[in-house]
């Protein structure tokens, strides 16, 4: 029997509704800052959703997901600097290069499992980080300023805050729907089967590595898209977006929200980044509260926010 009012889906729906209506609030109250903040949140939520696809459904604990943020960002930045301003070209390159990178490192990394997989994905992301630091033509360590946002002709103007926000939100929701379709497809079911028992799935004849690699590449492409948006949002891209603590942040968002749930990563990203913002306004030493809070979530809140809400629903 399905319950009529599921607390976690209500909360998720409220979060999505809040995101949709945010520009209206920002416009009415004249609070521009909140729109800028939430544009960033929506973009990072998109990366968290893509990470959740491999972590939550595919069982692949990647600790190098921020590499795609950098790849997508540098695709925009480098093409812009070389005079190719077309958003179609920039975003296509961002996604294609991310796919290629994911294909190569996925094929190598999937030979390992468990903690070794966590560490090898980390190693590749660190390599990408150092490659970006060595790109002296494109700013090296200091990063690259994107002087002109991606140009989508008359379709949409990325320079307009509200339009850009809705573009990001549209991408996020489209990706959530895509992930939902993937997860419930035959492919997604095989993937979840592999997560719970790989040997058994192999025994009944599924080429496990091929399925996992395909999933890994899809997640990489989605995060590459998010990287391209992020570079447009900050008008800047630097190696720092690929640093391992960024990958850690993304993992935290996914786990905080609820790994393996459709909207968990979105809720997690909103919660993590809003909390960071609120705490940093209360005290300069916000991390001293944030750190133990994360610890408490792990110790007492299994399954993240969505898991806790789910228990609220039952109990």
């Amino acid at each position: 029997m399905k319950s009529q009012l599921n607390v976690s889906s209500v909360v998720a729906a409220l979060v999505v509704a809040g995101l949709v209506l945010l520009p209206v609030y920002s416009n009415l109250s004249g609070n521009i800052f909140i729109l800028t903040l939430f544009t960033r949140i929506v973009i990072l939520a998109l990366s968290a959703v893509s990470l959740n696809l491999i972590m939550g459904y595919g069982g692949m604990m990647s600790f190098g997901h921020a590499a795609y943020l950098g790849i997508g960002g540098y695709a925009v930045g480098i093409l812009a600097q070389e005079g190719i301003g077309s958003g179609w070209a920039q975003f296509a390159v961002a996604i294609a290069v991310s796919a290629l990178y994911a294909l190569v490192i996925g094929a190598l990394s999937l030979r390992t499992r468990g903690v070794y997989f966590i560490m090898i994905t980390l190693a590749f992301a660190q390599m990408a980080y150092y490659v970006a630091s060595g790109l002296s033509r494109y700013g090296g360590d200091d990063g690259l300023t994107v002087y002109k946002r991606s140009d989508f002709g008359g379709l949409i103007n990325l320079g307009n805050r509200v339009q850009f926000y809705y573009l990001c939100l549209f991408c996020l929701l489209a990706v959530v729907v895509l992930v939902w379709r993937i997860v419930n497809s035959r492919f997604g079911l095989v993937l979840q089967g592999l997560r719970s028992n790989e040997q058994r799935m192999q025994a009944i004849g599924f080429p496990s590595k091929r399925y996992k690699l395909a999933c890994f590449v899809i997640a990489g492409m989605l995060c590459g898209l998010s990287g391209a948006l992020l570079a447009n949002n900050t008008d800047f891209v630097s190696p720092a977006v690929m640093y391992w603590t960024r990958s850690g942040d993304l993992m935290v968002m996914v786990i905080l929200g609820g790994m393996g749930t459709l909207l968990g990563p979105v809720v997690g990203a909103v919660a993590f980044l809003v909390l960071e913002e609120v705490l940093s306004q209360i005290t300069e030493y916000w991390a001293i509260i944030m750190g133990p809070l994360l610890l408490l979530v792990v110790l007492f809140g299994r399954g993240g926010i969505m898991g806790m809400l789910g228990r609220l629903n039952r109990g």
């Binding site: 850690g248 991390a287 001293i288 944030m290 809070l293």
Partner: protein
């Protein structure tokens, strides 16, 4: 020749420091199956404790001993209050929880010692160059690090291979349930191992402190290197950690020293001098990727099952 010997010793010294960190990490990993990202924070705390206690007591040795004790205590408290509840949980829970601890420690340090780094002066009785080969001089302090770290490595080896506690540690690494069933106080053993790991990290931090600036976030970069070491060496294997640590130390240091010149012979000098630092930083990750692709469980996988 002079540069080669000097860089070789620098690499050895760096490798041994990495070993001190990696030994604790690999023990905790191998025995408690705990991914401890906060290990780097213990290294940082060791350095901060040392800087404080040395300034306080005026003696490097006394301050160092106090700092070591403080880190040991901190490790035990940390295990007792937080980490012990994470045993047997998913690795991802460990990552999230200890990531939170990193945030906490970095901020606590900023609160207590302020955002600026501290400097720990070299002890005056070690601040002179030693002639190690005719015509080649080397700082005595760095030599002292090598000697101390080698001694600790030897003690650790003897402790783990020859004493009763070491036997229990090894037994715990190969079969946790069985050793508990045999009536060993496994909780106490875990606390002890964690404290030992913390003290080793603290030792690495306090010895490194006079060479580098003591600053917030110093633990994070070296933590990743320590992880690379234990993954290359095979998780849970102290011998593997030792060999991998020396390897990484040498490759990293030698790469930084000699890669720019090597590159200059194939590229123009401007391109070489910008590409070289990035390439030498990449070397170790490249090595790790190659090792893992060839041997997915590291070079010396600890015998599981």
């Amino acid at each position: 020749m002079l540069l080669v010997v000097e860089q070789f010793l620098n690499g050895l010294q760096f490798g041994l420091l990495l070993f001190l960190l990696a030994a604790g990490l690999t023990l905790v990993f191998g025995i408690m199956d705990l991914v401890n990202l906060a290990h780097g924070s213990l290294y940082m705390m060791g350095a901060y404790f040392a800087a404080t206690f040395v300034a306080w007591t005026g003696s490097f040795v006394l301050g160092g001993v106090l700092a070591l004790g403080a880190t040991l205590l901190l490790g035990i408290v940390l295990e007792y209050t937080a980490l012990r509840h994470l045993y047997g949980r998913d690795h991802l829970d460990h990552v999230l929880a200890t990531f939170g601890l990193i945030l906490f420690f970095n901020e606590a340090v900023r609160l207590i010692w302020g955002p600026a780094g501290l400097a720990l002066p070299l002890p005056s009785w070690l601040a002179f160059p030693v002639t190690i080969l005719p015509g080649i001089q080397y700082p005595a302090y760095r030599l002292a690090i090598i000697v101390v770290a080698l001694l600790v490595a030897l003690l650790l080896y003897l402790g783990v291979m020859r004493t009763r506690i070491g036997m229990l540690i090894r037994a715990g690494a190969s079969n946790r349930e069985m050793i508990g069933a045999l009536g060993i106080n496994i909780k106490l053993l875990y606390t002890l191992v964690f404290g030992l790991g913390a003290a080793l990290a603290g030792l690495a931090g306090l010895m490194q402190a006079p060479i580098l600036t003591v600053q917030i976030g110093m633990g994070e970069n070296i933590l990743i290197l320590a992880f690379v070491v234990i993954v290359i060496g095979g998780i849970g294997s102290i011998r593997g950690a030792f060999i991998a640590a020396i390897m990484i130390g040498l490759i990293d240091t030698m790469g930084r020293a000699f890669l720019p010149n090597l590159l200059r012979q194939v590229l123009n000098s401007a391109a070489a001098s910008t590409a070289a630092p990035a390439m030498s930083s990449m070397l170790i990750y490249l090595l790790m990727a190659i090792v893992l692709v060839a041997r997915p469980e590291g070079l010396f996988p600890a015998n599981r099952r």
